[in-house]
């Protein structure tokens, strides 16, 4: 349980920020925290189950849009919409994963990518309901106050992080790792690999959908450009790889780094994405373990 202590301490310190920092920074970090949950969910799937999801924005978008639509069209309270959003993401995830897990390597990645494109097209196609490319207006929001939003996001990220991290360190996480590293060996040890990978997919979908839903209630709008873009998905992947795959917590670090760095580089204009991608590429080439992975490197052999 020692491993939980440091992250919780960090979270506690971060909770103190609103006392001294302005709304602009708080807003930035709020966004980063939701992003952190996206990235951590992705890492559970990739770092542990060994499956590369090239379209995390499919799950995020499903959660966001179903929650948003319920609120926009039926004016249901936020918490019901959020739960419904998460549920939809899980259902969508299962529908995607069951057949997709039969495929290997590049084909699995391709299908996840195609899923995002299909969702994007569907949203645009049914623009009458979904608001199309312009987006959906969300009547309810979590709060107008920057600090409240910040604490909600921080709390959400901390709880999600603890659950995901705890899962990764648990017996189930161990089985998942074995399944991802060597499916044949795992089968020979008596584990139903498909079942475990599917479960991992569901957990990843749950948290991605949940975070996506919460995000739009923070922003007040939902549009394909923010939650269903392939670009968003790529950012999630970069965040997880930068932070360190197979660490869960590293992914959150990577997400915060990306959002903050993107903001700091804003004066560069167009080049900011270029710089961030370049840095990510260099990290892949020279520090494949990412920030946390390289820092915790312990002679894997």
């Amino acid at each position: 349980m020692k491993a939980f202590a440091i992250p919780l301490l960090v979270a506690a310190l971060l909770a103190l920020l609103p006392l001294g920092v302005g709304g602009y920074v708080l807003g930035l970090l709020t966004l980063a925290y939701y992003f952190g949950v996206f990235a951590m969910s992705w890492d559970l799937l990739f770092g542990f189950a060994g499956e590369v999801n090239f379209g995390p924005s499919f799950l995020i978008g499903l959660g966001a849009y179903s929650a948003g639509l319920l609120n926009h069209s039926f004016h249901l309270p936020i918490w019901i919409c959020v739960i419904a959003g998460a549920f939809t993401a899980v259902v969508g995830g299962v529908l995607l994963a069951v057949p997709a897990l039969r495929l290997s390597g590049p084909y699995f990645g391709l299908i996840t990518l195609v899923a995002v494109l299909l969702l994007q097209n569907a949203i645009v196609l049914f623009a009458g309901i979904t608001g199309g490319e312009i987006g959906l207006d969300i009547p309810d929001i979590i709060s107008i106050d920057d600090s409240t939003n910040y604490w909600v996001a921080l709390g959400f990220m901390t709880v999600s992080g603890m659950i995901l991290f705890g899962l990764s360190r648990s017996s189930v996480g161990l089985i998942l790792q074995a399944s991802g590293q060597d499916a044949i060996q795992a089968g020979a040890l008596g584990f139903n690999v498909t079942k475990h990978k599917l479960a991992a997919f569901c957990v990843s979908a749950l948290f991605s959908g949940l975070a996506g839903a919460m995000l739009i209630f923070y922003m007040g709008t939902a549009s394909p450009g923010t939650v269903v873009e392939i670009g968003v998905g790529v950012q999630v992947i970069i965040a997880a790889v930068l932070g360190g795959r197979r660490t869960i917590l590293g992914a959150a670090l990577g997400a915060i780094f990306l959002i903050v760095a993107g903001e700091l580089l804003r004066p560069l204009g167009q080049l900011s994405t270029f710089v961030v991608s370049a840095v990510a590429l260099l990290v892949i080439l020279f520090f494949p373990g990412g920030f946390l992975g390289t820092a915790l490197h312990r002679g894997e052999g």
């Binding site: 790792q177 089968g187 020979a188 008596g190």
Partner: protein
């Protein structure tokens, strides 16, 4: 006595290739059975079929009366089968203890914390296999033998009724082999059974109660280890029949004549030592045979010479050290290998395969060389435009050799050319090699398990066993001195 494992009519086909054909055998509780055969005999496939890693096309696999054929491997594992794979693949970021604990976990999605007794049991298993002192270490820090122990620990963790072990002693020293044998033998005291799969009868003879020999997917012989060792069919399949040698004119190989000079060569695959301080030399124009069973290290030796695997020691060709050269450079420099796997371009025609071999030569020379080779291997002429993968085994072998010869090598390395070939093809091959020797000044290094094929042409013979040369001399003396020891 009720049988623990009952295999009946087991068959597996991969497309047109029959890997296992109608295998039937059984193992009683407390028995250790050895399944032996050369590469391609189907023994590993049988093991995979029992474990559920491959699904059989026909046949029954009963574990204590329950037919598990066709079940997914995780169900078969829970039914009471454990397997030790040939290559160790532990989880590197977990400790030894955690790796063993993994094997003890139930296949549950919801149990987040392991039951308390699992920890104790894991410790007990670690102690039993001899890892008691290193439970907190990570696999990356352990020596090779301990990694093998870890694999054994994981396989026996849930107390399976049958343990399948693939090449139990590969890469182990004599002392480690003894320890492992004891461990495996101890397993039978619990009323469990063991199936050992190996190339080498000799290595497991002491440990097994019974043995079964396989060849080309079929049952060849069965009985006690001794009976199988001395069985005529087995000997023929392994060493090719009676050892006959023709008188050879004595050659004087002065040291300056050494075309290939290998000194103190060692090769490691990760932690496993595949070759240990091996030295050999081949004189210009000589024909040297390296004989040894599968797994002895012949392929590793040849791959080291060809620059395909890194090695320690020195390899000199024509008095020049080969260190630092790429494999392609070494091939262009005159050492051409025709490997056991042949590495043909299956979708390309015979003619195209040969042309590729001759690409480094000027067109005229390449054409002339092609002509000459088609004379040497007339069967290739008739199959000129056929795709390489549609040729029979023997034809593919000849194509592989012919293609290698297109490069006009000074040293031709042949790795197990006779593997899986019918006797009549061996005849043709033998004659082709003879003609080659008579008409050119080519130097040949041959690696073979089939002694009958390897001896008649050879000027000198080396015997390779477990990565070390154990005998060297001329063919006449081999029959007298090393011949019997070879198999037994």
């Amino acid at each position: 006595m009720p049988r623990l494992l009952d295999v009946c009519g087991l068959t597996k086909r991969y497309g047109g290739l029959v890997a296992v054909n109608d295998m039937s055998f059984s193992i009683a509780p407390g028995e250790i059975l050895g399944l032996i055969g050369p590469n391609g005999s189907g023994k590993s496939t049988v093991m995979k079929l029992i474990m559920g890693i491959e699904k059989p096309n026909a046949g029954v696999v009963k574990i204590e009366g329950v037919d598990v054929a066709g079940w997914p491997s995780h169900r078969i594992a829970r039914q009471g089968v454990g397997i030790v794979f040939q290559h160790s693949r532990p989880l590197h970021r977990q400790t030894v203890l955690e790796n063993i604990k993994l094997a003890l976990l139930p296949d549950s999605l919801t149990q987040l914390v392991a039951a308390s007794h699992i920890d104790d049991r894991a410790h007990a298993i670690a102690k039993r296999v001899g890892l008691g002192a290193v439970t907190q270490r990570r696999p990356g820090t352990l020596p090779f033998a301990d990694l093998r122990r870890l694999e054994l620990a994981r396989a026996i963790a849930r107390d399976p009724k049958i343990v399948l072990v693939d090449e139990p002693f590969a890469g182990l020293t004599a002392g480690e082999v003894r320890d492992f044998s004891e461990l495996i033998a101890s397993f039978r005291h619990d009323g469990h059974a063991v199936l050992l799969v190996d190339h080498n009868v000799k290595g497991i003879a002491a440990l097994v109660d019974r043995a079964i020999a396989m060849y080309l997917g079929e049952f060849v012989a069965g009985g006690t280890a001794q009976e199988v060792l001395t069985n005529e069919t087995v000997r023929r399949v392994y060493i090719g029949g009676r050892i006959e040698t023709a008188a050879r004119p004595p050659r004087d190989t002065a040291a300056s004549d050494r075309l290939l000079d290998v000194q103190d060569l060692s090769v490691f695959y990760g932690k496993a030592q595949a070759l240990e301080d091996v030295s050999l030399h081949v004189g210009a124009g000589e024909f040297v045979s390296v004989v040894g069973l599968n797994g002895a290290g012949k392929t590793t030796l040849f791959n080291a010479i060809s620059g395909l695997v890194p090695s320690q020691g020195s390899i000199a060709f024509d008095a020049t050290n080969l260190a630092g050269r790429t494999a392609a450079q070494i091939a262009r420099g005159g050492i051409v290998q025709c490997p056991e796997s042949r590495e043909l371009f299956g979708d390309m025609s015979v003619r195209e395969n040969l042309d590729l071999g001759g690409q480094h030569l000027p067109r005229a020379k390449s054409a002339a060389q092609l002509e000459w080779l088609l004379e040497l291997f007339p069967i290739l002429k008739s199959r000129h435009s056929q795709a390489a993968r549609t040729l029979s085994g023997g034809e593919q072998q000849m194509l592989a050799i012919a293609r290698a010869l297109m490069m006009q090598p000074r040293l031709l390395i042949l790795d197990e050319p006779t593997l899986g070939l019918a006797p009549v093809i061996l005849e043709q091959l033998s004659r082709a090699l003879e003609k080659l020797r008579q008409t050119t000044d080519i130097t040949i290094l041959l690696g073979e398990q089939n002694v009958t094929f390897a001896l008649p042409h050879a000027d000198r013979v080396y015997v390779l066993e477990h990565g070390r040369f154990v005998w060297e001399g001329d063919p006449q003396r081999f029959a007298a001195e090393a011949g019997d020891a070879y198999l037994s």
